[in-house]
Amino acid sequence: MNLLRTIRLVIRTLLARKGRSFLTILGIVIGVAGVIIIMALGAGAQSLVLGQVTKLGSNLLSIQPGKSNEKGPPAQLFGIVVTTLTNDDARALRDAGQVPHAMAVNALVRGGATVTWRNQTIDTTFVGTDYHYPEVINLSLQTGQFFDQQQGEGNANVAVLGSTVARELFGNSGMNPIGQIVKIQSASDGGIGGVPLRVIGVIAPRGSLFFQDQDDQIYVPLTLGAEQLLGIHYVQTINVKVDSAPFISSTIADVTRVLNERHRIQRPEDEDFTVRNIADAVSILSTITSALSLFLTAMAAISLIVGGIGILNIMLVTVAERTREIGLRKAVGATNAAVRNQFLFEAGILTSLGGMIGILIGILVSFFASILMRALGYDWAFVISGWSVVLAFGVSVFTGLTFGVYPAVKASKLNPIEALRYE
């Protein structure tokens, strides 16, 4: 019996038992779809993380007060308040003689705030920083301008709004926020009235960064934010932008040296600050996501094997059920090879069909997941690697054929006389 006829015969047999054929391949469908979805989500998460690096600029160093293990969490996470980092440290780092490759340096504090304009009140986050901030983190303005040097250092009563804040405060009135006076009150301060600030600019929408809406923020001058709103005399973070990537490590060394001198620290283990390299942090994150998706892919691959065992099971039942048919086929001239091929093809066609349906479902689910993530504001890429499709399909067909061989050989070895008498 030739190949084409075998395939036609098998397809007709499978179509005659649609329900069972579908149930047989369900395990394979789920396994294949699982592999593809997990690999696509893993790739999407990585592209998200990498996209955020480019957004920040990967040449960014972040200095935080308090010593912490290089790859561990910052000290603040444990509720420890370290007050050793100051705006003067930031100023010292701007000295080109000391830190030649620092292109821009800014200090910042951050806190919760209630912002009021007329009868509109919103809760948001304020960032107290200086006029270097836009350059350091690649910020651009929608309208107006950021603080100039005088405003930033002179503690002027001015504010720049994130686009979400601007929309929530001024969206209903349709008024231009520039020139309006808003009142800001620290969330930790139960006091009265709040500080009046004149709006001088609105930041262009930035989207989310590490799962935080970057547009739901209001920017105020550093001293105002630190001393008037938070009541502190230190800064929480200093960012240093390195002019180009090859100088990142030398700049880390320069920064460490300058701060150690200023803080009179002799031994590295006494350092009261931590310099983090954003690119390193991101590469750690990518390593974690890759490891996680590899692990999940392995789990999905196990479900493919379980699906293969399902096929083995059903094929054995099918062979038993069709014993008389096999006897008849042999009686009218089917060779052992013809019977074996028929059942092998049945398993092969079932698994490839399951593989294809699984690929389709996997791609669709990944696609809708990416749409959902984008709707939520994340820069999520829809990535289906050809490798994941080939892997999933290959493994499913391989398991199907492997688990199909035993029932097929069993069928081909049936004695036709006994098979015909089988009840």
Binding site: A16, R324, G327, G333, T335, I417
Partner: protein
């Protein structure tokens, strides 16, 4: 040259070291165009004999020559080819494929051959058993008599040298059985060799020659003097 020649044929079944002889010493020959009924009580070995003659089984000892050639050295695949091209089967329980059309059932042996125009060949076979009007029916939609006629068409479709019919009327009422015997007689008249296995004397008397078997030996080989001729059913004319 005879179509089938067997000499001192023996067949033993081995079951857990116990040897059960089924055919002890069988010798006969059948020519082209004969209509032979092999008769005997259950356990006489008639079915085993038919399985050997139709290449479904091999003898333990003795010689079986088919169309002049000793079958002893034939490979399994060659026996499959012989079953496909040189012999046709009609079973007591029809053995049609369920969920499959009448036409596809008849085409089944052609699947394992090399003939072209399978549809036309299968249609002709169905026409010769009077079932042209049932081509697209599924096998669960037709009567028992019609099922056996489909089985005969399937046996015919490869134009075999000999048709083996194993109790073909055993599961049928007398009217349908009569139709089936009529068709077999017509096929014989048209030149086909037919070997019928039965334990009913009435059925056997449709043949031209009766081989009686008992305890694995041929005990009588007789020409039928007063042969029963089955009459065509009206069903067939429809």
């Amino acid at each position: 040259m005879a179509l089938i020649e067997v000499e001192n044929l023996k067949k033993d079944y081995l079951n857990e070291d116990v040897v059960t002889p089924v055919l002890r010493d069988v010798t006969f020959s059948i020519d082209h165009g004969e209509f032979v009924a092999i008769m005997g009580p259950s356990g006489s070995g008639k079915s085993t004999l038919m399985h050997i003659l139709s290449f479904l089984d091999r003898p333990t000892a003795g010689i079986y020559r088919f169309e002049g050639k000793d079958t002893k050295e034939f490979s399994d695949d060659f026996l499959a080819k012989l079953r496909n091209e040189r012999v046709g089967f009609v079973f007591q329980s029809f053995n049609l494929l369920a969920r499959t059309s009448v036409l596809d059932n008849v085409k089944l042996p052609l699947l394992y051959g090399k003939k072209k125009d399978q549809d036309a060949i299968a249609r002709r076979a169905l026409e010769s058993v009077g079932l042209s009007h049932r081509l697209g029916f599924f096998t669960n939609q037709i009567s028992g008599g019609e099922k056996q006629r489909v089985a005969i068409a399937r046996a015919l479709v490869c134009d075999p040298a000999v048709i083996f019919a194993d109790e073909p009327t055993g599961n049928l009422d007398s009217k349908s059985g009569n139709t089936v015997m009529h068709i077999l007689q017509q096929l014989n008249d048209a030149g086909h060799t037919i070997i019928l296995v039965t334990h009913e004397t009435d059925t056997a008397r449709h043949a031209k020659r009766i081989l009686r078997i008992k305890d694995g030996r041929v005990i009588a080989d007789e020409q039928v003097v007063q042969r029963t001729l089955a009459h065509p059913e009206r069903e067939l004319e429809k």
